[in-house]
């Protein structure tokens, strides 16, 4: 197993205003609840979606979607 940087998404609920752009860009991981606020799927972001996840974080109008870099434990 190589050392791969995986990322996890996290939401700052105070900054989040329910714009919903994250859910448009990353519907595989982010859905919206009945009030328009994001629901994140649990766990780290699958590798193929990493680029989209970063784009979604940049697109958030209030910078409420946060990228957390987690290095998995070296086996």
């Amino acid at each position: 197993m190589g050392l791969e940087m995986s990322i996890t998404l996290r939401i700052n609920p105070i900054m989040c205003d329910g714009h919903g752009m994250c859910a448009e860009l990353l519907p595989e991981i982010i859905t919206l609840d009945q009030w328009g606020y994001p629901l994140l799927a649990a766990g780290p972001v699958p590798r193929p979606l990493t680029g989209l996840a970063r784009r979604a974080a940049q697109a958030c109008p209030t910078l409420a979607l946060l990228i957390e870099e987690t290095r998995p434990k070296h086996r």
Binding site: P13, G36, L39
Partner: protein, 452 residues
């Protein structure tokens, strides 16, 4: 430069026995010097407990670090979260820059009275704890926070802090601060934000206060009861503190007992005392209890049968579906309606959001509406389903634990009152809803609405 205040007298032979003698009885500890009629003044306090133990309980030439003693004592926070105090102090002491100590005496829970008791009757025990903690973590500022509308209490505490500083007891002045009376304002990060000049609303973590708190400094925030325990541990040692309680929950704690009991009030118990014993301490139930609310409005409901034998401590209560919280036990008689009481409390919690996070601001009122339907108007068979669908959408999605406390309360209510919930859903309100409310919810005239 050493941050420990070392008082050196003339060279004397080491004392044969520790200079501070702990009380003989197991209990009371914190409430040992309590008077019902007046506050314990500075001289009486020093007479009973001795001066602040800067050199530690053993009185040896080389005093042990207080943080190590607190670590070994197993003291955990008495404000609700139950975090190990020694670990928190260590984190703040190793933080960057001069630290800040904040004593939280704001007691946001309407049903709790222990902090108020300590501050009105035994303020010097709390202030000893503040000074000792400040010295131990290298803090240069210390604050004691209470609700801003408690003008008399603010004045008396300011006098006490002033007297101590002028007498040279505290190395630095303890600043008494009044904070807004909103429910979430007594939360740790809200107080830290307020002391930094902002509104008293919880903030997003990271960073946590012990890394970057008031004005960016590492901040030690503790409940006033925790600091009072610390003041005694510094005098009598960790072994004494651990001599009562459970291995996983050491020492004593203050609990507020209320609801349908003969003598509601604040009592000091050994951790591990069963809930039933606590109720009997308060004079026993006035009517046959159907359920108990343990841990306050962020705690949980338990049926009287299952609760009676459960020992009071954070781990045991969590395992049972409740919480230690700030140590509250409220007895609900059979003639009351637990769903109605819960509905009222959740309505209060919904009005007390900070208004910052969408799922909480939208979700709690929806939850309160659904509960009100269930309790008072009849759910038409749909209310419990509605509530169950709302709960996972609300919990864990706020910046603070406010929505989680509400959902935990509701989950425990649906579990404990499941038969009643089914009945309500089909038939509407029961007779118990007409009974006077038992769980205290502040009336409109007592409520504050500002954040500064």
């Amino acid at each position: 430069m050493s941050t420990e205040l070392v008082r050196r007298g003339p060279a004397a032979p080491p004392p044969a026995i520790p200079p501070y003698r702990p009380p003989q009885a197991r209990l009371p500890r914190l409430l040992a010097g309590l008077s019902y009629y007046r506050s314990v003044g500075l001289r009486e306090h020093e007479h009973r407990y001795g001066p602040i133990p800067w050199r530690g309980h053993s009185g040896r030439e080389r005093p042990e670090r207080l943080i190590d003693v607190v670590d070994r004592s197993g003291l955990t926070g008495r404000g609700g979260a139950g975090f190990p105090t020694g670990r928190k102090m260590r984190a703040v002491a190793s933080g960057r820059g001069p630290a800040v100590v904040v004593a939280n005496g704001a007691e946001g829970e309407p049903a709790s009275g222990k902090d108020r008791l300590l501050l009105t009757r035994l303020p010097h025990l709390v202030m000893d704890g503040i000074s000792l903690a400040a010295d131990a973590v290298g803090a240069q500022e210390a604050y004691l926070c209470v609700h801003q509308r408690e003008t008399e209490l603010l004045a008396s505490l300011a006098d006490a802090a002033d007297a101590r500083y002028r007498a040279g007891i505290d190395p630095g002045p303890i600043k008494i601060v009044g904070i807004p009376g909103r429910y979430v304002s007594s939360e740790q990060s809200a107080i830290v934000a307020f002391l930094g000049g902002g509104p008293a609303k919880p903030t997003f973590a990271p960073p946590r206060p012990h890394e970057r708190g008031v004005r960016g400094r590492p901040t030690l925030e503790n409940n006033v009861e925790t600091l009072a325990h610390l003041a005694l541990i510094a005098r009598y040692g960790d072994g004494w503190f651990r001599s009562i309680g459970l291995p996983s929950a050491t020492g004593s704690a203050l609990v507020t007992v209320g609801g349908g009991v003969a003598r509601p009030g604040v009592y000091e118990i050994e951790l591990g005392t069963s809930i039933g014993q606590v109720i009997m301490l308060a004079g026993g139930p006035t009517e046959r209890p159907q359920a108990l609310l343990v841990g306050g409005y962020f705690g949980g409901w338990l049926t009287a049968e299952e609760a009676w034998e459960i020992p009071m401590s954070q781990p045991t209560l969590r395992a049972a579906g409740a919480a230690m919280g700030a140590g509250m036990v409220l007895a609900l008689p059979v003639t009351s309606c637990g769903l109605a009481e819960t509905a009222r409390v959740v309505r209060y919690l919904a009005e007390e959001t900070a208004g910052q996070c969408g799922p909480c601001v939208m979700g709690l009122p929806a939850l309160a509406d659904a509960l009100a339907d269930l309790a008072f108007h009849g759910g038409r068979g749909r209310a419990t389903g509605q509530i169950q669908r709302l709960l996972p959408v609300i919990e864990g999605r706020g910046a603070c634990r406010h929505p989680d406390g509400a959902t935990q309360l509701v989950r425990s209510a649906l579990r404990t009152f499941s038969a009643e919930a089914q009945w309500h859903d089909q038939h509407g309100a029961c007779y118990g809803v007409a009974r006077d409310p038992l769980l205290p919810v502040p009336g409109d005239e007592e409520r504050e609405w500002g954040w500064r």
